[in-house]
Every structure is written in C-alpha cells, then in structure tokens.
Symmetry: C2
Subunit: 433 residues, 2 copies
C-alpha cells in the first residue's frame, strides 16, 4: 500500500469476500483506508463498506469524493447501496443519486423514502418476475438468456402486468418440474408477503416463524416492490438482540468503534436517571436517621436487603423482557408468568430470609435483628418478583419499549422498599422512633 503498487494491491484484495475486505479496511489507520480506496479506484468493491463499523464507514464516506461513491454504489445490489446511502447527509446524497443512471436512481430513491428500519429500506429491488402463463421451459430459457439477473435468488415471483403478486415458486420445486408444465400450476398461490412500510423487526419475526429464506415486499396496492433475503434478516436479528441487551443495561445504540464522546452520550442519560433515583433512596434512608443513630448495625445490614431485591428483580425482568421481545407471551402465558414470578418471589424470600436471619443472629448475637432482616427480605423479594414481571408488561401495554426503562424503575423500587421495610420494621421492633 505504501509503495502505491496498484497491481499487487488489487490482486490481493480482489479474491476477498466483502466481509474479509471489510476487516482489512478496519485494520488500517484512517489515512491508509482512504489511500487504499483511492489507489484501487474502480477496482474497489464498495460492498466491503457494508461490513465495517458505522463510525469507520462514516469517516471514509466523508473523505471519498461524491463522484467516486456514485460510481461505486452503482455496481452494488440495491440493498447494499441503500445501506451506504442512508447514513450520508441529504445534500451529498442528492448529489450522488443525481450521478446514477435513471432506473437505479428511482429505485434507490423509492427505498430511501420508506422509514428507517422498515422492510422497504432493507429490501433488494432486483428480483425475477414472470407471468403465470409461461411454462417451466420458457422460464429456464429466459433465465439462461438474461444477463442482468440479481446476484443471488431463491424464489421466482409470478406477477400480473401491474406487478401485483400472484404467487411464488421456490427454485428447488421449479427444478423438479418438467419443461412443459405451466408456472401457474406449480406456484404457491398464497405466498406470505411483508408490507414495505412494516418494521424490519416484524419482518424478521415472519422469517423466523415460517423458516423463510426470501419473501416478497409489497406496497399499499399489493404490488411487488422488492424482496427481503435471509442474510439481511440475520443482521436485523443480531441488531435487535444487541439493542435489547444494551437498553436493559442503560446503554443506547452504541458500537464498539464509537468515540469516547459517543460512548458518553449514549450512557449519561441513564446515569442521570440513576442519580435521581439513588438520591430518592437516600432520602428514604434519611427519614430513619434517628433509628440508625441508635443502632448503627442497621447501616451495614440495609444494603443486603436492597441488593438481594435488586438482583431478584433483574432476573425476573430479564426473563420477561426477552419473552416480550420474542413475542412468546399470549394472554394466557402472561397470567401464568405473573403467578409464577410471584410464587418464585415468595419462595426466594423465604429461603433467603432464613439464611440471612441466621447469619445476622450469629454475627450480632441478636435474634431480634435476625428476625427483622428476615421479614424485610421476604417483603422485598416478593416486591422484586412482582415488579420484575409487572413493570415490563405495563410498559409494553403502554407501547413503550419494556427494555429501555425497566432496569432503573425496578431496581429503584427494590432499593426504596428494601431500605424502608428494613428500617421501619427495625424501628418498630426495637422501639427506636
């Protein structure tokens, strides 16, 4: 690369799969990345850019002249082209689109008009569409003659002259049929479809449920506008899982390659929320200053009750949030889950009440203190189980993402209840008010 040896560089890069080429780009320093793309020129395969981290792609795209991007994007499948174009700022994007051939420009613009994270954004607009009256033989001849087919396809779409979808035909079924059979007789006349405006997560659910490899995307008038393939959906599934995991922990849409500033931005909000709720818990403790002053052992013991409640609540909440994300809960399962978690809370409470009661009695030689912490533990573990299942379900009912806020809400509640139950029972028991 340093020697500027274009021949050798393209010989090295050419045979690489785009995922590997992406890794090469990521391993380079920022200025080397630009040098690589500039040196390779038209020999650079822009699909490698779909395989690098968002931050790396954004920097590189920013640095490459728009005319080069336009030439590179024109070579790509439409879904890869949209993936690269959607993060470019509108002004530059217009300029790039205007340098593309009319047909590509229109189809990319149409995809970009669909909302972010919709099936329409992710879809591939090249697909094989044939009329129902063709025979298997005619279709094979057409496929053999046409050079402008999509890179990879797993289904053939049967449409009327207005591109309304009449049926689909999988390649394996097609291959097993004799040349003189009419397409209309072997196609699946009632195919699953995905509306272009629907969320990519909904589309992923359909793929998963029905073990699909490719599905047609239709517009409001049930016209076929594109296809979604499983490789895009696998990425969606991973993204959604990452999102769920990170949201539960109070981290936003952050990536490993984000800068310090990016990481700070995605985390400060929830740390602020946590500060407020921690101060709230502290105010609750403040109510019992007089109690603690008379029996300082309470200060050392109270975090145990709160911490156990927080952990138990997180367990219940995680199971609930994940089940909601996977659409595993119908009405009946919800009722079953709620009652199960409440029982688990009580049983956990009883088990750990006995344990901590014994430990406390032994350590402080005070059976009364053991009884107090045991009672507080039962109460807090039951609250933890109930809140851990009810709060995510409530947020989901209110159309909020249960993963986003459940963590902070639930642990605040178990902190406050834990401190309050323990200190107030202690105050009453030992007559410290």
């Amino acid at each position: 690369l340093r020697a500027g040896d274009i021949e050798r560089l393209s010989a090295l890069m050419e045979p690489l799969h785009s995922a590997d080429a992406g890794d090469v780009i990521e391993a380079l320093e920022q200025d080397e990345r630009l040098a690589l793309v500039t040196l390779l020129g038209d020999a650079f395969d822009y699909s490698a850019l779909t395989e690098v981290d968002d931050a790396v792609r954004a920097d590189l795209i920013e640095a490459i002249p728009n005319a080069d991007i336009a030439r590179g994007v024109a070579e790509l499948d439409s879904d890869d082209a949209v993936f690269i174009l959607e993060d470019i700022e509108p002004g530059d994007r217009e300029e790039i689109l205007n340098q593309l051939p009319a047909f590509e420009r229109l189809s990319l613009k149409r995809s970009l008009d669909y909302p972010e994270d919709s099936a329409g954004r992710r879809m591939q607009t090249d697909f094989i569409a044939i009329p129902p009256f063709w025979t298997v033989g005619q279709t094979i001849d057409y496929l053999r003659a046409d050079k402008d087919l999509p890179d990879e396809f797993y289904q053939i779409y049967v449409v009327d002259p207005g591109y309304r979808l009449l049926g689909t035909l999988s390649l394996d079924k097609f291959l097993r049929s004799k040349r003189d059979i009419r397409i209309a007789d072997i196609m699946n006349a009632d195919p699953l479809t995905v509306p272009a405006a629907s969320d990519q997560e909904e589309a992923a659910r359909t793929f998963e449920r029905y073990d699909l490899v490719e599905v047609g995307v239709v517009d409001d008038a049930v016209r076929l506008v594109g296809v979604l393939t499983i490789d895009d959906i696998v990425d969606v599934i991973q993204e959604e899982a990452t999102e769920d995991i990170q949201r539960m922990a109070g981290v936003g849409d952050e990536e490993i390659s984000d800068s310090v500033f990016g990481a700070l931005k995605s985390r400060l909000v929830w740390l602020c929320v946590n500060l407020v709720t921690a101060i709230l818990a502290s105010l609750v403790i403040g109510l019992f200053n007089a109690t603690i002053e008379q029996m300082v052992a309470l200060a050392a013991l109270m975090p145990i009750v709160a911490s156990m409640g927080g952990n138990a609540a997180t367990q219940t909440m995680t199971v609930t949030v994940r089940a909601l994300a996977m659409h595993e809960l119908d009405r009946r399962k919800v009722m079953r889950l709620i009652s199960r978690e409440m029982i688990v809370g009580v049983v956990n409470g009883a088990v750990f009440a006995v344990l901590i009661g014994i430990v406390t009695t032994l350590r402080y030689g005070n059976p009364g203190l053991g009884a107090v912490i045991a009672m507080a533990m039962i109460i807090n573990m039951f609250v933890a189980g109930s809140a851990g299942v009810l709060i995510p379900l409530l947020l989901n009912r209110l159309k909020a993402d249960p993963a986003v806020a459940s963590g902070t809400f639930v642990t605040t509640l178990t902190d406050v209840i834990g401190f309050f139950a323990f200190l107030s029972i202690a105050g009453l028991w030992f007559d410290l008010f």
Copy 2:
C-alpha cells in the same frame, strides 16, 4: 376436539404451518394436547413439536407411546427428528430408533453421536450430491426423476465416489447454465464447509459473516455428512442471544414455560452468590461503624456512590460482553476499548462528582461532605469503567464465559470500593476515626 370429530380436526390442522400447529398445541390444556395427538394418529405432523416450548414437548413426548413417536419421527427431516429425539431419555430413545428403517436409524444415530449443540447435531442428512462429470442437463433430469429429494434445498453438492466434497453449486447459477455445460466447470471449487464436531455457535458465525443460506458439514476425513440450512441457524442465533442476556442477569437456561421449581433452580445459585457478596460489602461498612455513629448522614449517602458505580460498571460490562459474543474484538480493538472505557469512567466520574457534590452541599449545608462524596464518586466511577471492561476480558482469556459471572463480580467490586472509598475519605476528612 371434545366431540372426537377426527375428520373435522384433521381438516382444521392439516393446512397449518408447523409453527401455527405448535401454537395450537401450546394453547391447549395438557390432557387436551395428548388427546389431539392420539385422535389425529398418523395424520399428526410431528414437526409441530419442534415449534413448542421444551417443557411442553417433554411432557407430551413422555405421554405418547414410543411406537407412535417412531412412526411420526420417521416422516420428519433428519434435523427435526434429531431435535425431538435428543431430549428423550436414552432407554426410550433406543426403543424408538430400533423401530425405524435401517437407513434412517443409522443416519439419526450418527447425528446423535455428535456432541450437543454441535453442527453435526443440527445438520440435515438429506442433500443432493452428484458427480462432477455430469452435465447441467443430466442433473436436471435426475432432479426431475428422483422423488426422494429433501424438502427444500438451495445448493447442489459435487462429490467424489468416497463422498469427499469437490465443490458446490447454487441453484440460481445452475439455472442460468445451458444443458450441455459440465458441472465441474461451473461449480464453486473452494466451498466453505463446517466441521461436524464444531460448535453450532461457530457455524452461526460463518453463516453470518459470509451471508450463507446453506453450507456443507464435513467429518474428520472431509467427507460430506450433512448440510446446515439458515433456518436452523436463525434459531441458534436467537438461542445464543437469549443465553447471553439471561446469563448476564444471573438466570440460567430458563424458558417461559418452566415451572416454579425450574425457575427457582435456575436463579438460586446466583442469588446465593449475591448474598455472599452483599454480606462482604456489609462487613466493609461494619469497619466504619464508629464513623457512621458520629455522622449518621453518611449512612444515607453511601448507597448513592455504590449505586452509580454499579450502573456505570453494568453499562461498560454489557458493551464488552456483547462485543466478545459477536467476535468483534481483535487485539487492537481491545486496547482501544480499554482506554476508551477508562476515559469514559474518569469523565463520568468528574461529571457526577460535581453534581452530587453540589446536591450534598446544599442539602446538608456542609461543603466538606460534598467534597468527600465527590472524591469517592470519581474513584468509584473509574473503578467501574476499568472493572467493567477488564473483568469480562479476563474471564474470556481464561476460557470462561464472560457473560456468566461478570455481573456479580463487577457490582460487588463497585459496592465494596464505593462504600470503602466514601467512608474512609469521610473518616479522614472529618477526623472521625
């Protein structure tokens, strides 16, 4: 169902996709499920059982006579059959296998011999294998003639007489080629493969990275023994994501349909670990009994420092664990991540030190107390950032699953450091020892 109207029942169930049939089964009461399967008899499609929760399947399989299961399983694709058989206890499994035709029995046994969660367990053993010297035309004729083809396939495998894999051919490329072309000339002669003994998670990573739909599974002698298709891999990806999420929260391999007892079992271990660590934190506080007695406000403030550290550590840990699970970290990125998280820790520490310092000063009218809590906050947030990234990386280096134990380790550390830093600085500042 109650009326025992077999005709109507099979008319209702027959057109259902196995995912929908699975939902019907789950919606029934336990005794109704058995009644449904018994009534339908040979008309019951056992693939529905691959779509229900583990607990539901186990109960139902237990109740159905082995001979019926054998008949049902014989109809299935080999991967579905293995999925059902692998959870049956060895004695019953032997009995069922012995009732199957010899060829199926051998291929199922071979799959079951591979370790749990391996590619060999998940693979489908029906596939299209042809010799390299055939032409496209010969192959099409073979596909049209053979009635015993797999249900769905996306690739044709080219093998030598010993079943060693020579190449693969995707159906779309195959379709575009003329009848007289030799398979050897158009096949991909250097196909990706997955070793049968490799973990399903590794296989999933290969699918994702190279956007595959189907891949050949080879044994130690590089003989083709089966194929993995993307629909199985999508399930693997979801399972692995659920596992990661649940492990971070200290929940085992639990499902929504598990009983109270199952849920308790999967959670008690980590609650016990948390009890021990909470007692440890309590002992640290106990060291400062005299300090707290002289200034009871410390008891109310100390959980704030601990809680903020716990939250920040969880954020960092979640990002790290997820990146490890997705294999996103090479040596260079690890160094970058560690330094980023330490800087984020310091900056977060500074921001929240100022905030909590001001709040504390105002509330207690004591600037010294504000300064003390601010210092403790900076220390604990830095520890949180460092531990949040270093502990998962260390566990990963030690070949332990970073998701399993990180949560408890990391928050224990921030609790202990938070309490210790705050109380010891306060003791020194106000001369309370």
